[in-house]
Symmetry: C2
Subunit: 200 residues, 2 copies
């Protein structure tokens, strides 16, 4: 399984944003929408072996939305449709347990610490520009489940860096050019597809 | 210079589409919008060395929109903003000569044949799933200007295949997994950025 964890530092935790102006009204939920489509959509289908965790920190209480490729429905390649699915998930009363919104989409309260705890058996890979070249990961480096951690446009806080380090993540880089999160996800999928990175 | 040519077989040539439903009202202009942002946007800036040609074939007369990184303004990473810029370009009265819409965005009548004629001195690379592995291109293969030709969700017609072949394009592949055009553009930019493919 390929897991992608994307942290939205200002991303709204309520459904009170406008689909007519996603970047301006949702705390840049558009960044997370694009990461979702980058993770799942193929030219004619959905990647079944992918799971995405969106960590939304722009509200009073953090929320996490989880999208599971195996059962995911209604996802189209365009940004607005994805935002509408997230809006539905955010309209659910969120609690500490996962609640299903639409097929393959779940929501709960909690943030990065909880997701890292869920994924404690996965190989954690934290993408940061000053990390080691991702192509230097040895062939066994991604055997079993992999979980890639990506930030949004604001970068991780020192507390988040610390959490990630304590979880034992390797810090790797896709190069010196600073890329959007969704573009990083596209690259990671391709590197895994083409066995530049090996996955068991 | 990196050129990307994307053919939208059903893409509208008029501004009469809805920003509230881009996929459903514009002949899938959303595919081209995402290819544009994939080509240009970096985490904090715009790629200056990129030029995108969108070939719109969903009207009575083909139109081409050209976006030039060096002078491109007002491009944001979200899909809707890009669609709004293309809408403005399509509202101009189009003729055989380029007319500027907003900074860095130009429109004219004409389609693939005209764009291939404009780029006759560039190394033409046609992305098709059954092509040679892109990593097998020799180091000098992309010295000078490169122009990558990509289709949309419907694939190229036999006539377009023939035009591309006559123009001397090399047929290369990013792998056996069928990817969206915008994801291909992300990968090509990265392969060039990291010198997996060399560019002069």
């Amino acid at each position: 399984m390929r897991n992608f964890i994307i942290v939205g530092h200002k991303a709204t935790t309520t459904p009170n944003f406008s689909l007519e102006d996603i970047p301006g009204t949702s705390g840049r939920l558009d960044i997370l929408c694009r990461a979702v489509t980058a993770a799942f959509v193929l030219s004619h289908g959905i990647r079944k072996d992918v799971c995405v965790h969106l960590i939304l920190l722009g509200g009073e209480i953090p929320k996490t939305i989880r999208l599971v490729g195996e059962t995911l429905r209604h996802l189209n390649p365009d940004e607005r449709t994805t935002a509408a699915l997230l809006k539905k998930a955010l309209a659910l009363p969120a609690a500490a347990e996962w609640a299903m919104s639409t097929s393959g989409i779940f929501v709960r309260t909690g943030g990065l610490a909880e997701v890292l705890a869920d994924l404690k058996d996965a190989k954690l890979i934290y993408l940061r520009e000053d990390g080691a070249d991702i192509r230097s990961l040895d062939a066994g480096g991604l055997s079993g489940d992999a979980a890639f951690i990506l930030g949004d446009h604001t970068g991780m806080t020192p507390e988040e860096e610390s959490l990630i380090e304590q979880a034992g993540a390797r810090v790797v880089s896709l190069g010196s050019t600073s890329l959007h999160a969704d573009h990083c996800v596209v690259l990671l999928n391709w590197l895994l597809d083409t066995n530049v990175l090996m996955q068991g």
